[in-house]
């Protein structure tokens, strides 16, 4: 395979574009797609102070690197989830990335600051682990961005993430969620501006970007996420993508172009009538917010060890 731009040896094929790229032109392609998303959706102004939600995985490290390359002023924010060795290793990847580039990484450790970890706390609060994790991270990301005076909060959601969420919301006709599934959510009372500059890249491309850039990211999947619905939606969409390259792009961007606006009124209704949480002041429909209720129910439980096999290797032979 030859690079579509320079005809040199290609290192990656991107079937939805019917194109192959060498290393340099793949980097150029990634920068071009991120720039296009930022410009098209007015995500970030050159003078903005940017906070990137960083997990130590490929997507968040790739977007942090790309934003710095594109000249933005971006700090990182890491949330320690207390998921045993997985969290320790993920933090070490985020911290090493920041240190190697002289960047600022802010950190909040949930067990230390709030008295629970995701495995034990989610069980105590009778929530699915991914639900408790997502709720905790969203609350802490918002708080960190607002308290730190950042203009915009960046997350590493990529095309696969957005297509999978859209797939799930459509399967179950969660119309209030469909109305706010946008690459940009503007700032409003109690919420920072949130943007997703990776929506034009797949996670295969963000992983390739990290590999080719020498960014050491956490490859292992979160032990709490194994078998969840979001992953099964991604698998289903990739099965379609193999037979019909470009299907994920056309599904998601077709939705944004042609369908999203029809669900906006319901999303607007959902956003109205929020009031400050009685405990922390974050916006909530009434009384105490979901995060404070989670802290109240999950805090103080004795942590349980999480089985994580980050290093074990098994061997078998196939002809």
């Amino acid at each position: 395979m030859k690079c579509v731009t320079c005809r040199g040896p290609a290192v990656i094929d991107i079937r939805r574009q019917n194109a192959n790229y060498c290393v340099d032109h793949f980097f150029e392609q990634c920068r071009r797609q991120v720039t296009k998303a930022i410009d098209e959706w007015k995500m970030i102004e050159p003078s903005d102070r940017v906070l990137v939600a960083v997990s130590g995985g490929k997507d968040s490290l790739a977007i942090w690197d790309l934003l710095i390359e594109l000249g933005y002023q971006a700090d990182g924010f890491y949330v320690g989830l207390g998921i045993g060795e997985y969290s320790e290793v993920s933090h070490s990847h985020a911290a090493a990335f920041a240190e190697s580039r002289g960047l600022t990484l802010l950190t909040v450790d949930i067990p230390t600051s709030y008295g629970y970890d995701i495995p034990t706390g989610s069980r105590a609060a009778r929530r699915a682990p991914c639900s408790a994790c997502g709720l905790s991270k969203r609350h802490l990301f918002d708080a960190a961005a607002l308290e730190g005076g950042y203009d915009v909060l960046v997350t590493g959601h990529n095309l696969d993430d957005e297509a999978a969420v859209l797939f799930g919301n459509t399967l179950h006709w969660h119309t209030e969620y469909l109305g706010r599934q946008l690459p940009v959510l503007p700032a409003r009372d109690g919420f920072p501006k949130k943007v997703k500059p990776l929506v034009r890249l797949t996670e295969r491309e963000t992983a390739a970007y990290c590999l080719l850039k020498g960014i050491d990211y956490l490859v292992d999947e979160c032990p709490m996420a194994v078998g969840n619905r979001h992953l099964s939606y991604k698998e289903a969409l990739n099965d379609i993508e193999v037979k019909s390259p470009g299907a994920k792009h056309s599904f998601y961007f077709g939705f944004l172009d042609r369908a999203s606006k029809h669900f906006a009124p319901e999303a607007d209704e959902d956003r109205e009538g929020l009031e400050p949480c009685l405990t922390c002041g974050a916006p909530t429909p009434s009384g105490t917010c979901a995060f404070c209720r989670l802290v109240d129910r999950a805090g103080g439980h004795q942590p349980e060890p999480v089985p994580v096999e980050l290093g074990a290797i098994r061997t078998r032979t196939t002809s």
Binding site: V11, R15, A128, C133, E235
Partner: protein, 66 residues
């Protein structure tokens, strides 16, 4: 060739020659959900693999409630 897989980590011995695309198909792995490396270097779908290669197949799918 030695093929290293992740999540969970394991090693397979697979006969060559074959291409990257053929290797993934023989392992029943989706091309859109994996990258393939030889000696730590990313290689494209038409790259030819032989018995002496050490190959890593890296999954790229991740995520919980995002």
């Amino acid at each position: 060739m030695k093929v290293i897989l992740r999540n969970p980590r394991r090693e397979l011995d697979i006969s060559g020659p074959r291409t990257v695309i053929n290797l993934l198909a023989s392992l029943d792995l989706n091309r859109e959900a994996h990258l393939v490396m030889r000696d730590g270097e990313l290689i494209p779908g038409d790259a030819a693999l032989d018995d002496t290669d050490v190959i890593e197949v890296r999954p790229v799918i991740s995520g919980g409630d995002r």
